[in-house]
């Protein structure tokens, strides 16, 4: 058993309502499909309304004399057919769609937060409103014109000045850079008569860009250890002349430091890595960049697979790379693939410095000048050859603990280098 509705039919073009002049059936009457159930009068026609179903009149909703809109309910008829299946299906669908609605609501989609309409941008500029601080009431977090109008009306404008956050909207950022470039054009450093202007080109420009990038992207931290290399100095001074004679190039202290660093990196691969936004890439190869200066230029050629090489091999390669750099013969391949940089700042006499990391590496080690200093050994003063090793580290990748361990290991390796332990070949 199911109750079906009979609605006011359309009884002619332009007819939108009809008045029931009389019911031809009463509640409880059994009727067949197409039997007339009511007489209806419109301003165009008078007509009989046929039943759409076979069944029993259950309820007359409209009264005689009532004017009913086309499509509105006139009466209910109880039919034999069951339509429960249909209704249950409907409710099921309804429930599903409701569920979807709920899910959609709960997921806070902010993808439209920074999509500004012309009206929003104009209002924000005219009223100096920082859009970053405005909560959008529109779809997917979009800031609407109404949102801004409300803010303007309330008089509590979130302006740039009041904030301490450095976040800014793209438009404002543009504006800022525009003004800085404009300002630098007008009031930047200008040269006085007698000053020399050197155009920034080529390698100088590349160095500048790399340094800026490194300092802007990488949060630097620093750490320095002091190493006693008296034994190493003694040994190296013993053999340096014969080595030069035999091999044709000098045996520098730097080769020993590079060797020690390569070995320590093998044990602390954390320092031999790169920041890649959502991950940290630990490099398998140990390719050490070394800084080589030439006039106004600075090159960082690479000793590939430094961990595979003997001290002699390293010394040879340093020599070759330095020669190439000075004669301008370094190739792209010579500079590629560095995973860690060792910088021989000691050659300039520096005893302490804070290096700028060679982007995108994780750290740089400055090997400072070896200086003879009075130290206390076994509670007595002793003249010792001392060197500072200064490490700059990417604090996103590295922390003090691992760097401290790494430096301690380098220190240990270097302090144990003497004629009995070193094999330069």
């Amino acid at each position: 058993m199911a109750a079906e509705k009979i609605n006011m039919p359309q009884l002619g073009e332009s007819v939108t309502e009809g008045t029931i002049s009389s019911w031809l059936v009463r509640v409880g009457d059994k009727i067949n499909k197409y039997d007339p159930i009511a007489e209806v009068m419109t301003d165009k026609v008078n007509a009989e309304v046929p039943s759409s179903f076979t069944g029993t009149i259950k309820e007359l909703v409209a009264q005689e004399g009532d004017t009913i809109q086309v499509g509105d309910l006139m009466c209910y008829i109880e039919t034999e057919e069951s339509n429960t299946a249909k209704t249950s299906k409907e409710t099921h669908q309804e429930r599903e769609s409701k569920l979807e609605d709920v899910q959609e609501d709960t997921v806070k989609d902010q993808s439209m937060k920074k999509r500004y309409s012309p009206a929003v941008l104009r209002l924000a500029q005219e009223n100096d409103i920082d859009l970053e601080q405005v909560e959008g009431s529109g779809k997917h977090g979009r800031i609407t014109r109404k949102d801004l109008e409300k803010i303007i009306e309330s008089g509590t404008k979130p302006t740039k000045e009041k904030t301490t956050t450095m976040e800014s909207s793209p438009s404002e950022e543009n504006k800022k850079t525009d003004t800085t470039t404009a300002a630098s054009k007008q009031s930047g450093p200008t040269s006085q008569p007698g000053d020399v202007e050197i155009p920034v080109t080529g390698v100088r420009k590349a160095i500048a860009q790399n340094m800026v990038r490194s300092k802007q992207e990488i949060p630097h931290a620093w750490m320095t250890v002091e190493v006693d290399v008296t034994d190493l100095v003694t040994y190296r001074n013993q053999i340096k002349d014969s080595f030069k004679q035999k091999e044709g190039y000098g045996l520098t202290f730097f080769a020993f430091f590079v060797k020690a660093v390569a070995q320590a990196l093998k044990e602390f691969p954390q320092l031999n890595s790169t920041w890649a936004e959502d991950k940290i890439i630990q490099r398998k190869d140990i390719n050490l960049s070394i800084a080589v200066a030439k006039d106004q230029e600075l090159f960082v050629p690479v000793i590939h697979h430094a961990d595979d090489k003997s001290i002699k091999g390293i010394a040879k390669q340093i020599h070759e790379l330095a020669m190439k750099a000075r004669s301008g013969k370094l190739t792209g391949d010579d500079m590629k693939g560095g995973t860690f940089t060792v910088n021989n700042t000691g050659s300039f006499g520096s005893i302490h410095s804070m290096g700028v990391i060679n982007h995108p590496q994780a750290a740089i080690l400055q090997v400072e000048s070896i200086v003879k200093r009075p130290m206390i050994v076994n509670d007595m003063f002793a003249a010792r050859d001392m060197v500072n090793l200064s490490l700059s580290l990417d604090h996103r990748i590295l922390d003090g603990l691992v760097c401290g361990q790494f430096l301690a290991r380098v220190k240990e390796l270097l302090e144990n280098m003497n004629e009995n332990t070193i094999n330069i070949y």
């Binding site: 332009s14 165009k44 009206a119 014109r145």
Partner: protein
């Protein structure tokens, strides 16, 4: 003030203008004795006689042509096209002659004629009894196209059309004839042709439309008001030439604009409205201008389900309004 249906307002305007000016006469198919298939000219034949209420042959070209001739001669004909769909045989007369005669004759001649035609669907009229034809005429300088939405506007604008010294196409929505009722003053009044009218003041979204769709928009607006969405509704009333100032004001008011027409979307009146907004309102817009219109289908289908699919209705308008409000 008496309450009248939309079609009663048509009849009242015709009767009053015929009483006021003996140069006004009516011609069309079945407009005489029968009083029109929709009863728009009901009673006029008895009151004014066969000389001023002319039954014509089934020849729309002749209805327009006779009207143009009579108008140029000094009379004020009100020609009825039984359905707007039937106006096509008269297009040459209307566009090539009526619209251009003042320009062509350097102001020596003019055509003070009104052509009335019922348009629009939703009445199971199918292909040849449901079309919206206004866009066909809406790039013909020299013509005016009036499409009122309420009985009050019908009376005031039909009188203005009859008194206008140039040809006016006056399209009446046939579903509105008996659906829409409203207060209409008994006294004589005219409304300005070329002026749009704000049918509802609101601050959240702007709906610009005309004809029966104004009514749908008003219904939807009432529903949405319960949800806190405040709609501003502009009734174009004259769809050619458009009231640019009113369109710009309405679009600027909220920055979120929904344009509605029952006509097929592409090339419709609202496309021109969108262009006016694009030219003038960029820095006030808060959302892409939205259009709600009929599909690109040759004409209204007969099957009720398909007619429902084609037709604009309050639910469709409400959905579009809500989406725009939430944007």
């Amino acid at each position: 003030m008496p309450v009248m249906s939309y079609i009663q307002a048509v009849t009242a305007a015709l009767r009053e203008e015929m009483q006021r000016d003996e140069n006004v006469f009516v011609l069309g198919e079945d407009v005489g004795k029968k009083g029109g298939v929709f009863r728009a000219t009901d009673g006029l034949f008895d009151e004014f006689g066969e000389a001023r209420v002319l039954d014509t042959p089934l020849a729309e070209s002749a209805i327009a042509g006779v009207g143009i001739g009579a108008a140029m001669y000094g009379l004020r004909p009100v020609a009825e096209m039984q359905f707007a769909d039937f106006i096509m045989p008269a297009v040459n007369q209307i566009i090539s002659e009526a619209a251009k005669i003042r320009y062509r004759s350097n102001n020596d001649w003019n055509v003070p004629m009104t052509i009335r035609a019922p348009y629009g669907g939703g009445v199971h009229g199918a292909l040849y009894h449901s079309q919206s034809v206004e866009a066909v005429f809406a790039n013909q300088p020299g013509l005016k196209i009036v499409m009122p939405s309420t009985p009050y506007d019908v009376k005031g604008l039909l009188k203005a059309s009859i008194r206008d010294n140039d040809p006016v196409l006056f399209f009446e929505h046939k579903r509105a004839y008996r659906l829409l009722k409203g207060e209409v003053p008994e006294e004589d009044y005219v409304l300005p042709i070329g002026k749009a009218d704000i049918k509802r003041e609101g601050s959240d979204i702007t709906i610009i439309t005309y004809g029966l769709c104004v009514h749908f928009a008003l219904q939807a607006a009432e529903k949405l008001a319960e949800e806190g969405i405040d709609a501003h509704i502009l009734d174009l009333r004259t769809v050619y030439p458009l009231d640019k100032e009113a369109i710009i004001d309405a679009a600027t008011k909220t920055g979120k604009v929904l344009l509605v027409t029952e006509d097929n979307k592409e090339g419709s009146i609202i496309g021109e409205v969108a262009a006016i907004i694009a030219e003038n309102c960029l820095f006030d817009l808060d959302a892409p201008v939205q259009r709600l219109a009929g599909p690109e289908i040759p004409s209204m289908p007969y099957a009720p389900t398909m007619e429902k699919y084609f037709m604009i209705n309050p639910d469709k308008v409400e959905k579009a309004m809500k989406e725009l409000a939430e944007f």
